[in-house]
């Protein structure tokens, strides 16, 4: 019993250090989270499924590897329907369009099953991308497996990789979905600024409330 307590403590400390409490749960075999909850990519991880082609709103097949930028790559899991994705949409598009011109490859991925949410159908995606002037691909993750590979669970949820393709930022856009005027921490913007100038990202992981990705079965 003593030994297991020591182990538990050690694991708890290790997990704290990595800020990944999911691991604590797994190690204790009494999960704080449900055991099938996806685990998001750890900072430093390479781009998963980078060569997976996905259908873009322009009809062409695009992979993350195809949009990779000289300075970094931003992968945005988003959708049409989620109120949080909508609230942040203009800011996401503005950042994507801005940094696309600064050596960052940008791609928005919709992993939702349109069978569950009609608003996330391909035609609706095309309309949205046009309406909001997406200056980057908005693609269909037709199996939701790309989201699974990233351990993405919410929309919007972003993953920023550096020039070497290693994850340097994961999380939300900023600290106020509802009011752009009241934002005080611009997490994604700060991360993009850092990566595009070859610097270390100040805040590497953030969280936010969001809609769950509606995974295909």
């Amino acid at each position: 019993m003593r030994k297991s307590f020591a182990l538990v403590s050690l694991l708890a400390v290790a997990a704290l250090a990595f800020a990944a409490p999911v691991f604590v749960a797994a190690a204790l075999s009494a999960p704080l989270h449900a055991d099938d909850a996806p685990k998001a990519l750890a900072i430093g991880t390479a781009i998963p499924m980078a060569d997976q082609k996905m259908k873009n709103v322009d009809g062409k097949e695009v992979a993350v590897a195809d949009v990779k930028g000289a300075k970094g790559t931003l992968v945005i899991f988003t959708c049409n329907a989620c109120p949080y994705a909508k609230a942040w949409e203009d800011r996401i598009v503005a950042l994507g369009n801005e940094y696309k011109g600064k050596g960052i490859g940008v791609i928005a991925v919709n992993s939702n099953d349109p069978g569950k949410v009609a608003e996330d159908g391909y035609d609706q995606m095309k309309t949205r991308a046009k309406e909001k002037s997406f200056g980057f691909p908005y693609v269909v993750d037709s199996t939701s497996n790309v989201a699974r590979a990233y351990g993405a669970t919410r929309t919007p949820e972003v993953f920023l990789f550096d020039a070497q393709g290693k994850l340097v930022y994961h999380g939300t856009i900023d600290d106020n979905s509802q009011d752009p005027e009241k934002v005080s921490s611009r997490y994604l913007s700060d991360a993009l600024t850092a990566v595009s100038s070859g610097k270390e990202v100040p805040v590497k992981e953030t969280k936010a409330m969001g809609c769950g990705i509606k995974f295909r079965a």
Binding site: A81, T153, R154, M209, G210, C211, K214
Partner: protein, 192 residues
């Protein structure tokens, strides 16, 4: 991060994360949170008090409960609506055993009327909360183990220690199992 988990609860439920949606967006007004909102009278509109993470925590740690289940939901969230009756059922079934259920709507501020309407339709006759303030502060302030996904269910023991976090839609059996484990541990507590 004091997580005292003593026994294993078998988990068999997937988390198909299905969310429906309705548009919404604007600023939350800074609100004065109150942990003890006035009790709703039968037939009265459900009381929905603005709260940040600190206010919700205050309600969690208020004395008198042996187990506390916090359910964070939103009217536009399909799985939240789906599981809602089961949250209410577990409250009804285990309240006498010492369970306190705290409902927190994550609807945006202008969605408050929708939230009140939903609570009324569900027959909620006890006070609950609507989240105000910054999202990440709310999520981290309540539970570092919570990713922010809705719905979320957080189960605490009578001392206010977080015991379990579930994201996505859960069943009655899961809600009940989480609460009963805490109740059982609480009554069997004999050592550190």
């Amino acid at each position: 991060m004091c997580l005292r988990i003593r026994s294993f609860v078998p988990l068999g439920l997937c988390l198909p994360l299905l969310l429906a949606a309705a548009p919404a967006a604007t600023a939350p007004a800074a609100a004065k949170p109150s942990a003890q909102a006035a009790a709703a009278k039968p037939g009265a509109k459900p009381v929905l008090t603005p709260a940040d993470a600190a206010a919700v925590k205050q309600a969690i740690t208020a004395p008198g409960a042996k187990a506390v289940l916090v359910n964070i939901w939103a009217t536009w969230c399909g799985p939240c609506r789906d599981e809602f009756p089961d949250v209410l059922k577990v409250r009804k079934d285990l309240e006498a055993e010492g369970l306190r259920v705290i409902l927190v709507s994550a609807d945006f501020v202008e969605g408050k009327a929708d939230a009140v309407e939903f609570l009324e339709a569900m027959g909620v006759d006890f006070p609950s909360f609507i989240k105000v303030g910054k999202d990440d502060e709310f999520v981290n302030g309540l539970a570092k183990e919570w990713s922010g996904l809705l719905p979320a269910t957080l189960v605490y023991d009578g001392k206010g220690s977080l015991r379990e976090v579930r994201e996505g839609k859960q069943s009655y059996a899961t809600f009940r199992g989480m609460v009963e484990k805490v109740l059982k541990d609480g009554s069997a507590r004999s050592g550190p």
